[in-house]
């Protein structure tokens, strides 16, 4: 509860900081709409030649695109800017300021910056999801919806933990931004169901860069093809990765020596 309040405060700070540059909102909206239009146009081209792609119907893939935007938007809204600032502050020693505050430093570092205009991606993702759900209509029951919510939360935890682990490696490595860029370029592959990729790439997109859990698995729930084993696996993986991120963070803090060192 306290942390939600904290997140809200940072959100307000983000709003206040950005209200001076309102044109940015329209530029961001324009860019987000372009990206969405590109994704849908790409689907349209592919589906003029085939009725299903690896067993997925156009509406199911549309739902997947919605999840892709929603998840990507949530990452760019708060996780990415905050953790980039964390990396920077490990380098120049300003992490000291976070450590002396009377809240958990990991949580503080994970929510300390909010790029509010990225809400456009989140909003567009939800809009696409709603459209896709309306078109899927009768095929989505309450059970599917619950499975979707559970898979989405697990996916969010996995992506967050993964980013946290990468960012925490800044305590040992100097140029972590490069690794983050690898993640971003591989995340793009999640625009399509990972089940279509050959085995080695599917493995990489599931466990090395966990975009399969972030996007494909929740979309599977809406497409009615999520088994409870996969969902349970996602939650086990989420719990393991989250604990690993926490342990790694503690190890990193022990190594951190502060600005004056």
């Amino acid at each position: 509860m306290r942390y939600l309040h904290l997140l809200w405060t940072y959100f307000r700070v983000g709003v206040l900081g950005e209200l001076a540059y309102r044109v940015n909102f329209f530029v961001q909206l324009f860019e987000s709409l372009l990206e969405l239009g590109t994704a849908i146009a790409g689907l349209a081209v592919v589906f003029t030649y085939t009725a299903t792609l690896g067993g997925w119907t156009p509406d199911q893939i549309l739902a997947l695109v919605g999840v892709f935007f929603l998840m990507g938007g949530a990452i760019r809204l708060v996780i990415q800017p905050s953790l980039e600032q964390l990396i920077e502050s490990v380098r120049d020693g300003t992490l000291d300021f976070s450590l002396v505050k009377p809240v958990d430093a990991q949580i503080l570092s994970s929510i300390q910056r909010v790029e509010i205009w990225k809400l456009t991606d989140v909003g567009l993702g939800i809009a696409v999801l709603v459209v896709a759900l309306a078109r899927l209509g009768a095929h989505v029951g309450a059970l599917h919806a619950a499975g979707f919510a559970a898979a989405l939360i697990a996916g969010g935890i996995i992506v967050y933990s993964f980013w946290m682990i990468l960012a925490t490696s800044a305590f040992w490595l100097v140029r972590v931004e490069n690794i983050l860029m690898v993640f971003q370029s591989m995340y793009e592959a999640g625009r399509w169901p990972t089940s279509i990729y050959p085995g080695w790439l599917r493995f990489a997109l599931t466990f090395i860069v966990p975009v399969a859990f972030a996007v494909t698995v929740p979309a599977q729930a809406l497409a009615g093809r999520l088994t409870w084993q996969v969902l349970a696996g996602a939650w086990v993986f989420a719990a393991a990765l989250f604990s690993a991120a926490r342990l790694f963070w503690k190890a990193g803090l022990r190594r951190y020596q502060g600005a004056s060192a």
Binding site: V27, A41, V45, Y49, T50, T52, M181, V182, M186, P198
Partner: protein, 267 residues
């Protein structure tokens, strides 16, 4: 060595040193350049399997050939100047380039060519690995292989001049990222990056040929894979030459106007 050859030689040494310094950037570069064609290759292969083995004259083996050749052609023709100009203008680093006695385009060209010479072995290795995985089928005719070379070089020239000119938009606005995005999306569809142009709807196909996009990337791929006849090949080489002349004059015009409005921030 002095003059332009000296400049190019020096730029090559600098680029080589930079690349060996930042090896991690090389890996990122490689992943992003292999992943895009790989994703579309998989998507189209899956689509062709779902609809009876082939779509629009392309089966899995033909798609593999198309996207592997596309990846190599893209490697030769791509530029990154559109990402850099905003930074140069905003931070004023262009001022130093303007003080030099040669046009700044030369150092960009030298940088582009030397970076590519260094990264070519990597992309060739990636192509070999993709070929082992996806089993492409090539049936290259001798004349097509010969015509491929000038088409590839002209494609590089068109793309370099075009993107260098577009990059100059940074002189007038600091919001080039939106302009860049529009261009990259157009290029994604119209230069054959996401699908062979023959699979696109007719209006897009027409736009690809009327605008410079087809001539920057797709055309050499089509030649090598035997998708265009020799008379169309000759016409296409002529169109490429025409775009080069047009872009050259456009570049001079925009450059002169741009330098006049340029006032380095912080200068």
């Amino acid at each position: 060595m002095s003059g332009l050859p000296g400049l190019y030689a020096q730029q090559f040494k600098t680029s080589l040193a930079m690349m060996l310094q930042y090896r991690a950037s090389l890996v990122i570069w490689l992943i992003s350049h292999v992943l895009d064609p790989l994703v579309y290759l998989v998507v189209w292969t899956t689509a062709s399997r779902s609809s009876g083995g082939s779509v629009g004259g392309y089966g899995p083996a033909e798609f593999a050939a198309y996207f592997i050749v596309l990846m190599l052609v893209n490697h030769v023709t791509y530029t990154w100047v559109m990402f850099e100009y905003e930074y140069r203008v905003r931070r004023g680093s262009l001022s130093f380039a303007l003080l030099r006695p040669v046009h700044p385009i030369h150092s960009d060209l030298a940088d582009n060519i030397s970076s590519k010479i260094i990264t070519t072995p990597l992309i060739l290795a990636a192509a070999v690995i993709l070929a082992l995985i996806f089993h492409p089928v090539f049936a290259v005719q001798a004349w097509a292989a010969v015509a491929f070379v000038p088409a590839l070089l002209l494609a590089f020239a068109v793309r370099f001049l075009l993107e260098w000119t577009l990059a100059l938009a940074a002189f007038w606005t600091t919001r080039v990222s939106a302009i860049n995005q529009v261009y990259f999306i157009a290029a994604l569809f119209l230069s054959g990056q996401m699908a062979p142009l023959s699979l696109l709807p007719a209006p897009l196909r027409l736009a690809a040929s009327v605008l410079p996009f087809r001539w920057t990337t797709s055309f050499p791929v089509e030649i090598l894979l035997g998708r265009v006849g020799w008379s169309e090949t000759l016409t296409g080489l002529g169109v490429q030459a025409g775009w080069i002349v047009l872009c050259f004059f456009l570049l001079r015009l925009v450059w002169r106007a741009g330098v006049r409005v340029y006032s380095a921030v912080g200068a």
